[in-house]
Symmetry: C2
Subunit: 172 residues, 2 copies
Amino acid sequence: MLEGRAASRGLAVLDLIIRFVAVVATVGSAIAMGTTNQTLPFFTQFLRFKAQYDDLPTLTFFVVVNSIVAAYLVLSIPLSIVHIIRSRAKYSRLVLVFFDAAMLALVTSAASAAAAIVYLAHKGNARANWFAICQQFDAFCERISSSLIGSFVAMALLVVLIVLSAAGLARR
Amino acid sequence: MLEGRAASRGLAVLDLIIRFVAVVATVGSAIAMGTTNQTLPFFTQFLRFKAQYDDLPTLTFFVVVNSIVAAYLVLSIPLSIVHIIRSRAKYSRLVLVFFDAAMLALVTSAASAAAAIVYLAHKGNARANWFAICQQFDAFCERISSSLIGSFVAMALLVVLIVLSAAGLARR
């Protein structure tokens, strides 16, 4: 019994560590995307060629969602600490499972929508006459592409968190 | 104790029903999207103006993912039936939680990526010089927009399924 309790505590500690990593991943994604802009080194009298993340509404959505998920994860840390101490907690774990699943859906939707737009920026689409803007805005594109990584990492971590909570419930 | 058992059985039956509904939703989405095409009523000697879902790779991804998730849900139905009979099952529920969470991420990513592209087709983007193709292909756009519904319904249902499995584990 004592052994089982130590294992439950181990799961809870792992849960806490993963939450910290996921906070860093989502905050990193939000900041990397939110500070992206590129001004091309040539301009005419009337036009400056400038690309910024909020030219594309999907990328604005990406920044907002990553901030929301990061805020949720920070708020969930105290609950996670409670689970280390009280390993038999039941309802608080169920609440975490629900919100973790909702946040998983949210961060996945932001990451995938942004990925679809980034793919389009790289490849364009000949049938729809959408041009690959990355040919001009190469630094901009590199930056928005790498911003996605943190979000996809957070997605994988949230799946692990859900399974950990379920395992915690199963072990009680 | 007998009362608690009846409640557990109720949760398991609800789980089964929701899986059936989610199968219908994802299959419906895949079929609605996969059969979308529109040919405009005018053409030149060299060009026929035709739009098909697989002109946009993201929409092909949408059809494939919805089919995969539907197949998974069908395969999970026997396990769900086992849980009605054996309400104290533990490891099989953990397996379901893991795969439900993975499928939630998958279907959300397909639905959101497709939604981002559909939004672009409707609104276009002036900064990137991407035109709103829906002005020409109105029936095509209406169809791809409504195909998304089933996928988003499946997303919500998968969140419910994860919470139900967790509740089942908590009640044991």
